[in-house]
Symmetry: C2
């Protein structure tokens, strides 16, 4: 696999480029803006995910011999355009919401400025990353809220594309998940990884006892034993018999996990395994997690619903041309609201720190800032170079944690509702 | 990015391996089976997607220094396991449904045989690929049916993870899509690519006329002009004025595309552009495509709904241990149906060629085959080597086309219903 991101691109970006190079408009200075017209049905906030990966993708957006040959052999573009692409390197400016920042409909998540030529070709890969990663981040944040401080492990790799899985694990961690099962996410992003055994391990052995003995011998008494292969009550009894009351945790992956967790807790306590934790998994989403709040559950394993965005697998962001040579432009379409002109945003807060409004405005006429208000876009790329000292994934994880605390309390409700704070557009 | 697929894996596959190497069960001969318990809500058939990519992923499942260092540094497994992984190379057998074959709940889509050690570690990446690719293939096939022979172009890259986009384009083509906008899919899989211009191109120019003139100069009169940036009627008039009646196509991306297509056809015919095609796009799914059957639409561009599986972004397949040393094994869980034992499948057909039943059985006791029945699993890997002469993507595309024709007519309905043919499990 090539490390170039250049062909992760819709063909029309390059045919537009070819026409624009021919007619001389390719070098007009433009601003493109990434935003979404709506949140997924009933969601109250969005979470910016993928900004860090976008910056990497822009750096790796280079046309080598392989990429150029593909375009030449299929006559996608003409010779002049191939020559232009050969030297391509983004040299413009990018500003945007850092990862972990909340967003709302109309929030200017990313602004890309440069010549039409250098900015238009980035559209597809920028949107792919932000649409996927923000969809997962938004779902993940709701799950973390629902878990209410309990440990929550991402284990959805098998239910999504193998590369989406790695990116999903990354933004799940951003959103506050404790760990991931995905080893590549551990390598690529330094995220903690976790995992012990599946039902296959028990089935492989001549008895559940032999399986537990083997696992404890290999991984220690602090391990998590999966107790629902045959009979949960017998499984728990056996688990404590084999590992002793020092057993780290038991995992229950099927059945009515709320009832089963209560029974398991009583049984574990009776057996003296009072510090043994109970982990539940199996088709959990944010609603199931919340429903287990009153139960003695110590941790959750979440798979399918996380990696599919819990009903909203894409954030539906768009990348729109909003300025040409400082002149605002917008499509005049029948049903889609479009606002021309470059934008920035401020979030206003009450004195208590509670957010009240997302104000979107032209950068040349910023609103007055109250003591608790703050600018949301930060410089990400200047003259083609990534800005120094950009936040780490850990920084962004803290950012989201703090941002969620600023939402009005209704904003954190899982039920369907309006966006937590309104977006106000100021005329320039 | 490493080309190794080894870490696209849940940690527990490797901790199970470590325990099993320690206790001596790692070398027991096992069979794992991939199947799904249900189709997405109301769907009548599934389409096998991703088998070809699975074979590649198995070949590239190797632990190099980078992968081993990650596991060692994080103490995921012990030294003995690291040594074993260093020499890992799958040496077993894989049989399965070829791509483009239909499947139903319980169909044994893939059977992996080998030692526990060598087969268990493949679980995550095999499921990631089949779950994603089959989800997209299933949605794509319904869209192609709905398009009823008209051209249909995949253009969803921006709405999904950048690597999922490439795989989605691949299986959309498998399912009968005409082309994709994704250039990397063109390079990697030789799929036809397409695309001309977006609204940004019109907005960049001083007038719509200048934009159209530029595009026609660069791409010829056979190009597709996007006519809905400002006013569709004026856009079409201008398009024919600029390109002449030889104009290849106009594209309409917003509004009530059915009504607009009718108006556009009348207008184009009036202008003498009788062979100019009409392409529509913008939030189309299989239902919207079907609803446009009576309208003068020549082609569809489909994005979001395709890459998100049109409401079913994962196929929910599982990879279950079904045999250990020729002994059937199964979890005895409270609510999930599990059938131990290795399986194969035959599809029975009437004399007319219409499919009537999916028969699932143990390979050692196959049912008698009628003249129109056929075995569904084919050998894919023998002793670790990919079988010679496996079908190409074009072959698989034809396979699906033929398979869909064999479905009872209700099976192709888009409305919610039962699976098109029943699955029958024969006791061994």
């Amino acid at each position: 696999m090539s490390s170039s991101t250049a062909l992760l691109t819709d063909q029309y970006e390059l045919t537009m480029l070819a026409s624009a190079l021919r007619d001389g408009t390719a070098h007009r200075q433009c601003a493109f803006e990434v935003f979404t017209r709506r949140l997924p049905h009933g969601r109250r906030y969005g979470v910016t995910g993928g900004t860090g990966r976008v910056l990497e993708a822009i750096e790796n957006f280079r046309f080598g011999e392989d990429e150029l040959a593909q375009l030449a052999d299929n006559r996608v573009v003409d010779e002049r355009t191939l020559e232009w692409l050969r030297d391509y390197r983004f040299s413009g400016q990018v500003d945007g919401y850092p990862e972990g920042e909340l967003f709302f409909p109309g929030s200017p998540l990313l602004t890309v400025r440069g010549s039409f030529a250098e900015a238009v070709v980035l559209e597809t890969v920028v949107l792919s990353i932000l649409n996927h990663d923000s969809a997962i981040a938004g779902a993940a944040a709701r799950m973390v809220s629902a878990a209410n401080g309990r440990r929550i492990i991402e284990m959805g790799s098998r239910r999504t594309h193998e590369e989406s899985a790695v990116s999903a694990a990354r933004v799940a961690y951003l959103a506050g998940f404790t760990a991931t099962s995905n080893l590549e996410a551990g390598r690529r992003y330094g995220i903690p990884t976790a995992g012990t055994a599946a039902h296959a391990f028990t089935l492989l052995h001549d008895s559940e006892r032999k399986a537990f003995e083997s696992q404890v011998a290999a991984l220690g008494t602090g391990t998590t034993l999966l107790v629902d292969t045959y009979d949960i009550t017998k499984g728990i009894e056996l688990a404590v018999e084999v590992a002793g009351p020092e057993l780290g945790a038991v995992r229950i992956d099927s059945g009515d996990v709320g009832v089963l967790a209560r029974q398991a807790r009583e049984q574990l306590d009776r057996l003296g395994a009072t510090s043994t934790r109970i982990v539940v998994s199996g088709d959990l989403d944010e609603y199931a997690i919340a429903a287990l709040r009153a139960e003695p559950v110590d941790g959750y394993g979440v798979g399918t619903s996380l990696v599919t965005g819990s009903g909203a697998p894409t954030a539906e962001m768009v990348y729109k041309l909003v300025e040409v040579e400082d002149r605002p432009v917008a499509k005049r379409s029948s049903h889609k609201e479009s606002r021309g002109g470059r934008k920035a945003a401020v979030r206003r807060h009450k004195e208590t720190g509670t957010a009240v409004e997302e104000v979107v405005f032209h950068p040349d006429s910023p609103p007055e800032l109250g003591p608790h208000d703050r600018h949301l876009q930060v410089p990400l790329i200047r003259d083609g170079q990534r800005v120094d000292g950009l936040p780490t994934l850990e920084d962004d994880r803290q950012r989201l944690r703090h941002a969620l605390v600023t939402l009005p309390w209704e904003g954190l409700k899982l039920s369907q509702g309006e966006q937590a704070i309104p977006t106000t557009f100021r005329q320039p």
